[in-house]
């Protein structure tokens, strides 16, 4: 039963989820509507509880057993509690029941997001540019014909994606656009068809219970 029940659930929900796309009848459509608007939302609400619960449990254990970098878990848990309280009771921009401003210093959820989450997130992503620059220097070597072709395409795209190129070579941005529109599209379409057929086959195997890897490796 432990295996059969999930398999039956997947079979039923898989078919129920796919049918409304091919059956325009009112009953199929309204059932699908209800399924999405009510059942899926309830499941999503449970996933929030599951997500918060598992992150709290994971970091509590980390602190308890003093695992590597356990100190950071304190920061995560404290931040989670503080932002949750501010978000739940402080309103979006300090309009809630909880006061979120002291002598002109605001710490409402929008202020925290704009002045902490955005710069931190953007900084993490910006670090990529350093690694990419270093990787480009090391990897882009004209070792053979294919590598040379890649190198030339990369140069055209890099120049084409800055306005300076239209001042130096007026036709370069158009050529870069052509690379994206024609050769890139041709390759992407071929890959897209392959991926779509592969996804369809895998989905069918999962729905029909042939592929059971998602059950956690149970035979």
């Amino acid at each position: 039963m432990k295996i059969r029940l999930p398999l039956i659930l997947v079979l039923v929900t898989g078919i129920v989820g796919a049918l409304p796309f091919i059956i325009p009848h009112g009953i199929a459509q309204s059932f699908d509507n209800e399924f999405r608007n009510s059942i899926l939302r309830i499941i999503a609400a449970f996933s929030l509880v599951l997500g918060v619960g598992s992150i709290v449990r994971h970091h509590t254990y980390k602190i308890k057993w003093k695992r590597e970098n356990w100190q950071y878990s304190w920061i995560l848990l404290i931040s989670l509690v503080i932002t949750s309280i501010i978000g739940l009771f402080g309103g979006i921009e300090g309009t809630g029941a909880l006061p979120t401003s002291v002598r002109g210093f605001s710490f409402d959820i929008q202020t925290i997001f704009v002045y902490m989450a955005i710069p931190l997130g953007a900084t993490m992503f910006a670090m990529l540019s350093f690694f990419m620059a270093s990787a480009a220097y090391r990897a882009f070597r004209a070792r053979n014909f294919e590598a040379t072709l890649l190198l030339i395409a990369a140069f055209i795209m890099m120049l084409g994606s800055v306005p300076l190129s239209s001042y130096i070579f007026p036709r370069l941005p158009g050529f870069a656009e052509w690379i994206l529109t024609v050769p890139n599209t041709a390759a992407k379409r071929g890959m897209g068809f392959g991926i779509a057929l592969g996804s369809l086959a895998t989905s069918l195997k999962i729905i029909l219970g042939i592929e059971r890897g998602w059950l956690g490796g149970t035979k």
Partner: protein, 289 residues
């Protein structure tokens, strides 16, 4: 001499990092503005939004997160400037939870810009009348498909807690039939979900705003007409800002255009390092032979 070529082929990564930092920071302090020329995908998007009829609206799906904010936020701001300048009705939603704060910031920034210049109430940009911020709904399939039937049912309350069915703007926006174009701005696969479900099932026009690295993935859909127009990367945002300023005379801070000087310098520096690396590589290879 042998050593110098070898050094050239094997530059220390700290040197590359430091010089990259310089070429990014210096143009921020001393910017040089380069006028971007709009490419066809950006122009198509602009023209489509420009010709939205009065009975239809623009929907912006803010699906990016803080990590891609520098690249994608200027797009949302430019779109809002365009729509508000022409008094087009705007609906904003988020598929990504982290998009909420970014959408709120974009709406607050642009509406403040317009309201500071407004002479009368009619000139002002007011939530519930000129735009509606529906907020976030999960899982993604619920809003993407549900909006085709009834938007107010998918979002019973707006982001500020008002009942959406009572808002004046919502009296004319019922479902995708009332949406002229939906522009999904994301550094992820969200625009593809809109293409797969909203465009295919309901025929709603889709526009995209994507990071530069992801832009190539959209071209097959752009060619097939499933994506009406697109802004790709910081350059796409700068091109849209240029069109808004040039054609509508709407002025404001142009973050993408300002950042183009840094991006230009960084790209040139990366190209120089590649050339240096190749020179060193070829000299060493010849010597080995």
């Amino acid at each position: 001499m042998k050593n110098s070529w070898e050094k050239l082929a094997k530059l220390d990564r700290r040197v590359i990092y430091f010089l990259l930092l310089l070429v990014v920071v210096v143009p921020i302090i001393f910017p040089f503005r380069l006028k971007p020329k709009a490419m066809p995908p950006v122009e198509k998007l602009f023209n489509h939004i420009d010709t939205i009829p009065d009975d239809k609206c623009l929907v912006i799906s803010v699906d990016y997160t803080p990590d891609t904010e520098p690249e994608l936020h200027p797009m949302a701001i430019a779109l809002l400037r365009h729509a508000f300048a022409q008094r087009k009705k705007v609906g904003v939603l988020c598929i990504s939870l982290l998009g909420l704060g970014l959408a709120q910031d974009a709406l607050a920034t642009v509406s403040e810009e317009f309201n500071s210049r407004a002479q009368t109430n009619a000139d002002s940009i007011i939530s519930g009348r000129d735009f509606v911020f529906w907020g976030w709904q999960t899982p993604p399939l619920v809003p993407i498909l549900g909006m085709g039937e009834n938007i107010a049912k998918v979002f019973p309350l707006d982001y500020y807690g008002n009942r959406t069915d009572t808002l004046p703007i919502m009296q004319k926006i019922k479902n995708y039939n009332d949406v002229a174009i939906l522009v999904s701005i994301a550094g992820s696969a969200v625009p593809f979900w809109y293409i797969t479900y909203a465009q295919t099932s309901f025929g709603v026009k889709i526009g995209a705003g994507s990071t530069a690295v992801q832009a190539a993935d959209f071209y097959p859909y752009l060619n097939s007409g499933q994506v009406t127009g697109m802004m790709s990367g910081m350059k796409g945002g700068a091109e849209y800002e240029q069109l808004v300023e040039e054609r509508l005379g709407v002025y404001g801070r142009r973050r993408a255009t300002d950042a183009m000087s840094s991006q230009t310098a960084a790209h040139i520096w990366i190209m120089i390092t590649i050339i240096i690396g190749n020179i060193g590589y070829f000299v060493m290879r010849r010597r080995k032979k």
